[in-house]
Amino acid sequence: EAGVVQSPRYKIIEKKQPVAFWCNPISGHNTLYWYRQNLGQGPELLIRYENEEAVDDSQLPKDRFSAERLKGVDSTLKIQPAELGDSAVYLCASIRAGITDTQYFGPGTRLTVL
């Protein structure tokens, strides 16, 4: 089975520019996560989707970050405008449904904001 797919793998932008990341979860996985991993740290949850509904976005900085999961499959995470502190790796993960299910992660998008 194909894993979680993310693109682009790397992105370098100037501050104040917009940027978007795309994620395609494992087929049949209803729950999708976006995490942010700062250098030297573990991933931190940004948002969780159950199908097309964002059920936990409490950690998402809503002034500049937005996300969507149309049709409950692919998801896009957007930052507008980007700030220097947004430089990080953005990871997408998915599980089928259950709370004890294993989260499978994509390779991530490394964002550098100059």
Binding site: G42, P43, I99, P107
Partner: protein, 111 residues
């Protein structure tokens, strides 16, 4: 709130020797605990998890972990380390449907 601590930033071990990467947790209710490994410029790869049952959990690539409820620990172990095991290791505990990760431990296995 659920939290995970990995007290060692780096662990060094010689190839062929046993390795241990430490993890302690603080959770309310029954803990669901996970170990992931991350290679440079790669995402997190699942190694093993503890949900319930046997305290010794076996996972991928010869790794295992021991759940100790009294010490609130979930240490990752391998009997004989390989140079290719050198990577960043993350312990995580469930927080609802999401995971709380430790800050990671860098494992360096020298020939």
């Amino acid at each position: 709130a659920q939290s995970v601590a990995q007290p060692e930033d780096q662990v060094n071990v010689a190839e062929g020797n046993p390795l241990t990467v430490k993890c302690t947790y603080s959770v309310s209710g029954n803990p669901y605990l996970f170990w992931y490994v991350q290679y440079p410029n790669r995402g997190l790869q699942f190694l093993l998890k503890y949900i319930t049952g046997d305290n010794l959990v076996k996972g991928s690539y010869g790794f295992e972990a021991e759940f100790n409820k009294s010490q609130t620990s979930f240490h990752l172990k391998k009997p004989s380390a390989l140079v290719s095991d050198s990577a960043l290791y993350f312990c995580a505990a469930n927080s609802g449907y999401a995971l709380n990760f430790g800050k990671g431990t860098s494992l360096l296995v020298t020939p």
